[in-house]
Structures are given as C-alpha cells and as structure tokens.
C-alpha cells in the first residue's frame, strides 16, 4: 500500500452506465448524485426513481442502472478510502463536468466516515466481540454445608456481555473469580495492552501505513 491513493479505474461497462450524467442537464445530474446518496441508507425506491425518470423524460431502467452504479461508486470510494483530490481526478476520467464532480465529492465526503464504519464493522466477517463488563465484590460468610465455621471467602462476580458477530444478539456470561486469579488476569491484560504499543507493533504499523 502506498501513501498516495491510486485513481479509481472503472471498466467500460461501468463507465457506460455512469455516462448518463454527461448526457443530461448538469443540475439534474447533481440531483441524481444526491438522490443516490440517500438510497445508500434507505435502499432503492422504485416509485421515486420512476417519477424522476418521467420528469427527465428518460427510460426508468437507465436511471435505475445509473443510480445503482453511483451507489457502487460511493461504496468503492469508501472501501479504498480515496482522497478528495484523487476522486476528482478519477471523476474527470469519466468526463464529468466541474459542477457534477464537486457535488459528488461533497456527497461522498459527508457520508465517508459512516460508510467506512459500516463496511469495516457491520458487513465484515465478525467474531463475537466485547460489549461490557460489570463486576461485583462479595464475601462468602456462611453456607448450608458449613454452618458453624466462620467463613470469610472474598470473590468477584463478573458479568461479561458479548455481541455475536453474525446476528448482533447479546450473550451474557456470569463468572466467579477468586482474588488471586484476578491479580493474574490484570497482569496478563497489561502485557497484552503493552504489546500493541511495543516497537515491534509500531514498526509493523508503519510498514503497512
């Protein structure tokens, strides 16, 4: 991976699908870019697309395919984390005029971080992950099986909440832990934490940055 992001190069089929914006009025093209952005979160709305196509006196299927390709383009930009300048250059290759390019870049940058989060977390292969941990400190002082004995056994109860990667459901684990194990766990987690700040980890991060 290099520090400058490469241009987005589209195949001919995509280019043809996106060429509609060069053929219609600029302000209409800008409107289509904005509408496509809205559909990213809501999904395609056939009724609205039909109305728009009728207003522009265009074939519904052509408008739909263009919007589809615009959605693909927004997603691709987020996937590659493209810089605005590079995106501008890439859009020039599609033959888009300044006004359309600016509108597209504005639309993209307004949603870029949200899109990237969705791609990186919601859609990605995801294992059960941490959500929350609650703890409680108790001392066991008496039990049925040891009635007269003066007991004093300190322990912690942990409630670990995880989220399943696939269906987003919560899993709750209730665990008991004795003080000595707790001390050992703190030591282990500190080691784990320090490892991500180690020279080795930093060097690897630098290599891929």
């Amino acid at each position: 991976m290099s520090t400058t992001s490469p241009l987005l190069l589209l195949d001919d089929e995509r280019k043809a699908q996106l060429d509609l914006l060069n053929k219609i009025d600029e302000s209409a093209a800008v409107e289509i870019c904005k509408a496509a952005l809205g559909y990213l979160s809501t999904g395609l709305n056939t009724k609205l697309i039909t109305t728009a196509a009728n207003n522009l006196q265009l074939d519904v299927e052509t408008v739909r395919t263009t919007i589809d390709s615009l959605l693909w383009l927004y997603t691709e930009c987020a996937k590659t984390k493209i810089l605005p300048e590079t995106l501008d250059e890439s859009l020039k290759l599609l033959g888009y005029k300044t006004q359309i390019r600016q509108a597209f870049i504005e639309c993209y940058t307004s949603q870029a971080s949200q899109l990237q989060t969705i791609l990186a977390t919601d859609l990605a292969l995801s294992l059960p992950h941490y959500k929350n941990l609650n703890w409680r400190f108790d001392v066991q002082i008496a039990t049925r099986s040891m009635r007269s004995r003066k007991q004093f056994d300190p322990f912690f109860i942990l409630k670990l909440t995880l989220i399943n990667g696939t269906n987003g459901k919560e899993q709750v684990h209730l665990l008991e832990i004795d003080p000595l194990t707790l001390v050992h766990i703190v030591e282990q987690l500190e080691l784990a934490m320090n490892e991500s700040r180690s020279n080795h980890a930093r060097r690897i991060m630098q290599t891929f940055r």
Binding site: R144, R147, S148, K150, I185, Q188, R209
Partner: protein, 192 residues
C-alpha cells in the same frame, strides 16, 4: 449435631473388638480418609457391612466439620455414641485432624456455584483488509477465557474479539476491582 439411630448403632459396632479387629478398624479408617485425597476416589470394600459403616462414619465426619467441632467435642460425642475405645478414638481423631482442611474445602465447594473463570489467554492481530475494506490497519485482540462450568469439572472456553479501546476499558475495570482488594487489605491492617 444429631445422628440417626442406624449411625449410632454402627458406632457401637465400631467400638466392639470382637466385631471388628484392630487391623480391620485401622484399614477402614485409613480407606475412608483417603477418599479426601484426589489420588484415590474409588475404594474397594470387602462387604456390604463395610459399606454401611463407611457411610455412617462419613456422615459423622461431615457433621463434625459442618459444626466445626473441636477435639473435645468430638470425643464427647463419640463417648455419647458409646464409642469409647480410647485407641480407636485416637486413631479416628488423628486422621480427622490430618484431613480437616481438605474436608473443609470440600464442604465449602459443596455450595452454590457460578461458572469459574480460571485463566485468560490473548492474541494481538493487525487487521489489514477485508472484502469490503482496504487499509484497515486496526489492532484486534482475541481473548480466550478459560472457565470451569458450575457443578462440573468441564473446562470450557469463551472466545471473543475486542479493539484496543475495549481492552483498555476491560483492563481499567479489572484494575478497579483489584483496588478493592488493596482497600480491604489496608482496612484489615488498620484495624489490627
């Protein structure tokens, strides 16, 4: 502490040298207490008579530990049960004292349990790319918590991932919990 009449009867038998020779008595006591060492959980008994005796002796041992009887109380209880043979009482008490702490632990464990966290294992990965994203460069921790399921000896694992921030949060929470231990130690020392 109250024992039922069958157990009382068994103790009268234990006292009787014509019923149970010295050698057999010693062997029986040794076998019973050896149950509390982890190496030996299955003992061979010669007769159903022995099984009955064993059950009676075990019950009385558990009752003594449950009520935290000292040596004097145990002797007095044994005398009440007409188990008056001094050398046999000594033999019993000798073994009882030897295994007392283990029996206490055993009884304490016979309580209500939760799953028990035993250990934590961790791994640090650097997430680089997925089919939906390039240039991720995200450190991801995978944690594996080893636990023992309640009321069993089954060992199970809880595996999950967390970000660096999550791990920091988790660590802070564990440290908070640990600080309670320090506070408690301090309070106890201050009271002394």
């Amino acid at each position: 502490m109250e024992l039922n009449s069958e157990i009382e009867e068994d103790f009268r038998r234990l006292n009787d040298e014509t019923y149970l020779s010295e050698k057999n008595y010693n062997e029986l006591i040794e076998k019973i207490f050896s149950l509390f060492t982890s190496a030996n959980t299955n003992i061979q008994l010669s007769s159903s008579f022995d099984k009955h005796l064993l059950s009676s002796i075990l019950t009385s041992i558990f009752e003594c530990v449950k009520y935290d009887f000292d040596e004097t109380s145990i002797r007095s209880k044994l005398n009440d049960l007409q188990f008056t043979n001094k050398s046999r009482q000594d033999r019993f008490l000798n073994e009882y004292n030897k295994y007392l702490s283990i029996i206490q632990l055993y009884l304490k464990q016979k309580s209500i349990e939760h799953d028990r966290l035993l250990n934590i294992n961790w791994r640090l990965d650097l997430q680089l790319k997925t089919n939906y994203t390039d240039k991720l460069l995200e450190p991801i921790y995978t944690l594996n918590w080893t636990k023992r399921d309640k009321y069993t000896t089954n060992i199970d694992q809880i595996q999950f991932t967390c970000s660096q921030e999550n791990l920091q949060e988790l660590l802070e929470k564990f440290k908070d919990a640990q600080s309670v231990l320090h506070q408690m130690q301090y309070q106890q020392q201050a009271k002394k």
